[in-house]
């Protein structure tokens, strides 16, 4: 039993930088019961959400997700936490933005209503978003979503997709796109987190100083470093600390009836 807020960071490899931020002492997580539950994005297609929990659909995936979880969880029940931060999870907001910007720059005309519909439908079609929404529907934990960050700025394979006429639209349009998606996520009970402003360069890229070491040699423009993780967590931890727990009852591994952390119930 605990009075401390129970916080889980659930994600694909993009959650690693948050762990790095914690390990390097860049953020203060004292007073918080923190767990991580994640694995590489390719395994996310082997997850499903039902009855308020994320379930791997096979044993291998379950073991991979359990590997670096402090309690060896083979599934993730929302009811065991006060706040779950879904990180990355193959939710590529920037791809939605790029598509929208390309449509706007190319013609034919796209009305604001249709643009909103395209953005929200595309968001809701992401598997990772559906997992977040499924957790939110349980009503037992607050669900935050920090989508996969923008590509690191510089000479990247992404650049040919952003010709000048598309880039010109970024400053005016991207903030509005975020608002549309925040509203849609809120309807679904998910708090969508924008990429922290200080980490953004040129409106739709991540600043160089947040790239992983040797990003260019590794051709890794997607992952980010501990400082980035700290920037995200600095937005999230106040939310976690603001959770008011209803006393010590039902803390720790308390699971919904019928779902125990150490039993893996599988439906046929």
């Amino acid at each position: 039993m605990t009075d401390r807020p129970r916080f889980c960071i659930f994600g694909d490899s993009h959650y690693a930088c948050l762990k790095q931020a914690e390990m390097r002492g860049l953020v203060d997580v004292s007073g918080i019961e923190l767990e991580y539950w994640g694995h590489v994005g390719g395994r996310f297609r082997h997850l499903e959400v039902r009855e308020g929990a994320i379930w791997p659909t096979d044993d291998f995936t379950a073991m991979r997700f359990a590997k670096f979880n402090e309690k060896g969880r083979t599934f993730l029940p929302a009811a065991d936490f006060d706040v779950i931060l879904v990180v990355g999870a193959r939710v590529y907001i920037w791809r939605l933005f790029l598509r929208a910007l390309t449509l706007l720059s190319a013609g034919p005309m796209v009305s604001e209503g249709l643009l909103r519909r395209i953005l929200t439908d595309d968001l809701r079609r992401h598997l990772g978003y559906r997992l977040a929404r499924g957790l939110a529907e349980s009503g037992t934990a607050r669900i935050l979503l920090a989508p996969t960050a923008y590509y690191t700025e510089g000479e990247t394979p992404l650049l040919p997709s952003i010709p000048p006429e598309v880039a010109a639209l970024i400053p005016d349009r991207v903030p509005g796109f975020w608002r549309v998606l925040e509203e849609a996520a809120a309807e679904d009970g998910v708090t969508l987190l924008r990429q922290p402003e200080e980490t953004v360069a040129r409106g739709m890229f991540s600043a160089l100083e947040y790239a992983v070491d040797g990003h260019h040699e590794k051709q890794d423009f997607e992952h980010h470093n501990a400082a980035f993780g700290a920037a995200v967590l600095s937005r999230v931890l106040p939310i976690v600390r603001g959770v008011v727990r209803p006393g010590a009852a039902g803390g720790g591994l308390a699971a919904p009836p019928g779902h125990r952390q150490d039993d893996r119930e599988r439906e046929a």
Binding site: A16, K19, L103, L114, R117, I118, H126
Partner: protein, 373 residues
């Protein structure tokens, strides 16, 4: 003594052509004037039933032309909701010959569209196609810009088509009393505000219908001398009537006039033809079998039967193999989970190198001693 009836084929006699047959065996209703083949460029417009025509042609890989396909990558649901691909341009339903004439006038001449817009809850609706933008446009300027694209599409459609298929739907409409401009629906129903001083009901008579249909044809032929027109009459009864009559009687009145207009247009213009989908769906010979229980909606099997007659009669007139029904879709997999009813966003496959980078990042954070170098 012989007489003209002696030498008529059996499809000219009720007993042999209709009463003595199973309804589904009634054939040869249409003697097409113009060949419509797979390479014929076909444009469709009109009332609800015309949508079925477009879909049926496209499904059988006929050259149905869409001059306003909308932004790339729209899902079928988005296209349907925003009326892309319903007709060959994004006008929504065009119910009367007057409405058709109006659209063609605005698209093919210098006559400007009236600036009137309808408002509702801070959003803006086009009085001439209020249903095409769910929730309305964000501004009048956006509405005008969108309409401009539709007008360009209409002009391109008329100029680019071989056959213009128009389904006549209604004789009843609402107009601006001062200008005579006709609205798609009664003001105040979808948006806007009804004003009894400004808005008037009209139930077009035969003369007006013929004049508008003739004018519409003239506009089109002026833009495309090779264009032919295929008329149909929608079999769908009126949802409601403002004529003061019982809706069943009002429906009969409207459809009778429209059917007569179609026949007169055929008689007067070599380039106009009529396809009897109306008869196939509504005639008592078919005993209402093609209507849904609401007695308004046409069942898919009705559409299929209509199109089967279309292609059979084309083949009978011009030779060539009959076109069969469209291919049946492959059996669907088990129904998705209730929370995943929309198709998933296709994700690019991760390369091996990308997977390795992801693993490395996780190991670096969670198990730095286990990293591979």
């Amino acid at each position: 003594m012989s007489h003209p009836y002696d030498s008529l084929p059996e499809d000219r006699f009720w007993r042999t052509a209709v009463a003595g047959r199973d309804a589904l065996e009634i054939a040869g209703l249409w003697k097409p004037r113009h060949q419509i083949g797979r390479r014929t460029g076909i444009v469709t417009a009109g009332s609800c039933f015309a949508q079925h025509f477009a879909r049926a042609l496209a499904a059988r890989r006929y050259r149905w032309l869409d001059f306003e396909p909308g932004p790339a990558g729209l899902t079928p649901e988005q296209r349907k909701d925003y009326h892309y691909g319903t007709f060959s341009f994004r006008t929504g339903n065009i119910y009367t010959p007057r409405m058709l004439r109006q659209w063609l006038t605005w698209a093919l001449t210098d006559t400007p569209v009236p600036g009137e817009v309808w408002e509702k809850d801070g959003r803006f609706y086009d009085p001439f196609r209020p249903g095409v933008e769910p929730g309305g446009f964000v501004s009048a300027e956006e509405l005008y810009a969108s309409r401009k694209e539709t007008l360009a599409a209409i002009a391109a459609a008329v100029r680019g088509a071989n056959v213009f298929v128009f389904t006549l739907g209604l004789t009843e409409a609402w107009q601006d009393k001062a200008t005579g401009v006709e609205y798609a629906v009664c003001p105040g129903t979808v948006a806007g505000r009804f004003d009894a001083e400004a808005h008037g009901f009209v139930n077009h008579g035969f003369g007006a219908l013929m004049a508008d249909m003739t004018a519409a044809l003239r506009l089109m032929v002026r833009a495309n001398r090779r264009l032919v027109m295929l008329l149909t009459v929608s079999p769908v009864p009126l949802t409601a009537t403002a004529s003061g009559q019982h809706v069943l009687a009002a429906t009969s009145h409207s459809k009778s006039l429209l059917r007569a207009v179609a026949s007169e247009m055929v008689a007067a213009h070599r380039r106009v033809d009529y396809f009897p989908s109306y008869e196939i769906i509504t005639h008592p010979a078919y005993r209402g079998r093609f209507f849904a229980p609401n007695l308004r909606s046409v069942l898919p099997e009705g559409v299929d039967h209509v199109m089967a007659q279309f292609f059979r009669d084309q083949a009978a007139a011009f030779g060539g193999a009959e076109v069969g029904p469209p291919p049946v879709p492959a059996a669907l997999e088990a129904a998705p989970e209730p929370e995943m009813t929309e198709p998933e966003m296709p994700e690019p496959e991760m390369t091996e190198a990308e997977e390795l980078r992801c693993e490395e990042e996780i190991l670096a954070a969670f198990a730095p001693d286990q990293r591979h170098d």
